[in-house]
């Protein structure tokens, strides 16, 4: 399958600005008592996932490259998550 056109430098700067805002939000969330407990955990995981996804999709070009590369990466990523979730549950880490 053909590759799609890549973002412009201006787009990269915009994505970096969004990443900076998300990082600021990550720092702010633990300071807000209203988010204590499960909401804080969910918010921080969600914000981290957003940053992770933005870098992978745009900076690593997985959104625009051949699907083969995306699939190879996802096999490693989504292979690791259930394996280590089982490990952690086995050792009652939570």
């Amino acid at each position: 399958m053909a590759e799609r056109a890549h973002p412009t430098p201006g787009m990269y700067w915009l994505i970096a600005a969004v990443l900076a805002v998300i990082t600021a939000a990550e720092i702010a969330v633990p300071q807000i008592s209203a988010f204590d407990g499960a909401p804080r955990v969910l918010l921080l995981i969600g914000l981290g996932a957003l940053k992770f996804g933005a870098v992978v999709a745009f900076f690593m070009h997985l959104r625009f490259d051949k699907p083969l590369y995306r699939n190879l990466f996802l096999v490693g990523l989504f292979g690791a998550i259930p394996i280590f979730t089982v490990v952690l549950l086995t050792f009652t880490a939570f």
Binding site: L44, L68, Y69
Partner: protein
């Protein structure tokens, strides 16, 4: 990646006659490597989560200096921007600009490493060492291995910079720049996970 890279610098037509183009193979190999690295870091992050509360009655996650680590994280995040700009400049045919962004990426990576060394020395000074507790062992192993990856990345960036000075950056039609970029971004996304799981989520 983006369009036809620098046709004037690409090998002349017929140069590769009789040879297979190994570029897709090398890029595929890099993605397989990065996929396997997910499992590697997954094991280390899981180990940290298993031992995060096992401090032997000593120092735990309260030692973390979140504002300082946040600044380090931001530096590494911005190095991903400079890396992708280096890549873009290269494909746009602006070697001088690509060289500047490569140097900026290496500088930001070095800054991150300096921050990590400072952080480690502070923690050791306060009594958290590799052998003080399972928490300390898991923390230093995880963040230390990530730091080693960053150091390898800085060396690779330095090599790219030197190759560009010698006019050899266009060997392999820029594949080396692309592969180093993929490695560098991967190091960045691993830190995004470590920063969230090890630092932010462990705050009381």
């Amino acid at each position: 990646m983006a369009g036809a890279p620098l046709a004037e610098h690409a090998p002349a037509a017929g140069h590769d006659e009789g040879h297979h183009d190994v570029r897709p193979v090398r890029k595929t190999a890099m993605w397989v490597f990065l996929g396997s690295e997910c499992v590697f870091f997954g094991a280390m992050i899981s180990t940290f989560l298993l031992y995060r509360s096992n401090t032997n009655g000593g120092i735990g996650s309260e030692i973390f200096d979140i504002p300082f680590t946040s600044a380090s994280s931001f530096v590494l995040l911005m190095s991903s921007l400079t890396m992708v700009l280096a890549h873009g400049a290269y494909y746009g045919g602006d070697l001088r600009q690509a060289r500047v962004w490569l140097a900026a990426t290496a500088l930001l990576g070095t800054t991150f490493l300096a921050g990590q060394i400072f952080e480690f020395s502070e923690f050791i000074h306060q009594g958290l060492t590799l052998t003080s507790s399972p928490f300390g062992s898991a923390f230093y192993m995880l963040t230390g291995f990530h730091g080693a990856h960053v150091a390898v990345g800085v060396l690779l960036l330095g090599s790219m910079f030197l190759l560009s000075l010698g006019g050899r950056l266009y060997d392999d039609r820029g594949l080396n720049v692309e592969l180093v970029g993929l490695y560098w971004h991967f190091v960045d996304i691993v830190w995004i996970v470590i920063f969230t799981v090890v630092y932010l989520l462990q705050q009381p």
